[in-house]
C-alpha cells in the first residue's frame, strides 16, 4: 500500500512537472519571458537542498527569482524584507542560471508568483524530493 502511495505521488509530481513546463511559456503574474533565474545565497549544494516545509509542497521545490540580474534579485529581496539581516547577509551572494541550462540537467522552474514576488519561481525536479540530491544539485552548480 505504501509503495502504491509513493508511486502515485511520483506520477503526480511528474505530471505537475510537465504541466508547469508548459505553463512557464505563459506564466501568470510574470510579465515577459523568463530566461534566467537567481538563487539567493549562491549555487552551493547546501543552498539547493529542500527544507522540511519545501518537501511538503506540491510539487516540492526551492525558491528562485526570475529577473535580469543577480543585483536586481538581491535588491528586490532587501526591499521586501528590510529587517531580515540574516537574509541580507545571504543576498551578498547570488547564484544565477539560464533556464535552458537548468532544463538540460533535468530540473525545471515553474512560475509561482506571490504578492511580494510576482517573478517568483520554484525550482522543481520530475522525481520530486528524491531529485534534489547532491549529485543532481552539483549538475546545476556546474552550469552556473
Amino acid at each position: 500500500m505504501m509503495k502504491m502511495d509513493d508511486s502515485l505521488r511520483k506520477l503526480r509530481t511528474a505530471l505537475l512537472f510537465l504541466i508547469n513546463s508548459v505553463n512557464w511559456l505563459m506564466p501568470k503574474g510574470i510579465s515577459g519571458e523568463c530566461h534566467i533565474v537567481h538563487r539567493i545565497g549562491g549555487g552551493d549544494v547546501n543552498n539547493l537542498k529542500l527544507q522540511p516545509l519545501e518537501k511538503q509542497l506540491e510539487p516540492p521545490g526551492i525558491s528562485v527569482l526570475c529577473g535580469k540580474s543577480a543585483y536586481d534579485a538581491s535588491k528586490q529581496l532587501k526591499k521586501a524584507f528590510p529587517n531580515a539581516t540574516r537574509l541580507h547577509e545571504k543576498a551578498k551572494t547570488v547564484g544565477s542560471a539560464q533556464l535552458d541550462d537548468i532544463k538540460k540537467v533535468g530540473f525545471d522552474v515553474m512560475p509561482d508568483p506571490t504578492k511580494k514576488f510576482p517573478n517568483h519561481g520554484r525550482l522543481i525536479h520530475p522525481e520530486g524530493v528524491s531529485g534534489f540530491n547532491d549529485i543532481n544539485a552539483s549538475k546545476i552548480i556546474s552550469g552556473i
Partner: protein
Amino acid sequence: MFLIDSQKNILAKITISEINENLYIGDITDDYLPDKIRETFLRYEEIINGQMFSLLDEIETEINGFGLAVSQENDFKAFSIRDLQMMSDGKISFRMPETKLTVEQATINTQLRIDR
C-alpha cells in the same frame, strides 16, 4: 508608538528609527505578544530567512487576519498598517500608507506616553 490589536490592547512598544516613504523601521522595546502571534511571526521569519517564498502568501494572509495596527496618540487612535514584519532580534517594520509621520513625531509621542 504602540503596536495594538483590534481591541486596542497594547502588544508592543516601538521606537521608530527610520522612515522611508511609507515604510517605518524600528525596534520593539517591550512586548506583550500573545503566544499565537509570537509563534506566527517566528514561522514568518523562518520562511523569510529560509527563502521559502512559496509559503509567503499563506502566512501573510494569516498575519493580516490578526488585524494589528499602531497607535501613537493618547486617545489610542489606531492607524492601519500593512506588511508588518517582526524579527526575533526585536527589529520591526511596517508600511503605513494612509498616515505620514516623521521620526521625531513618532519618538516624541512615544516619549510622552511613557512619561505619563
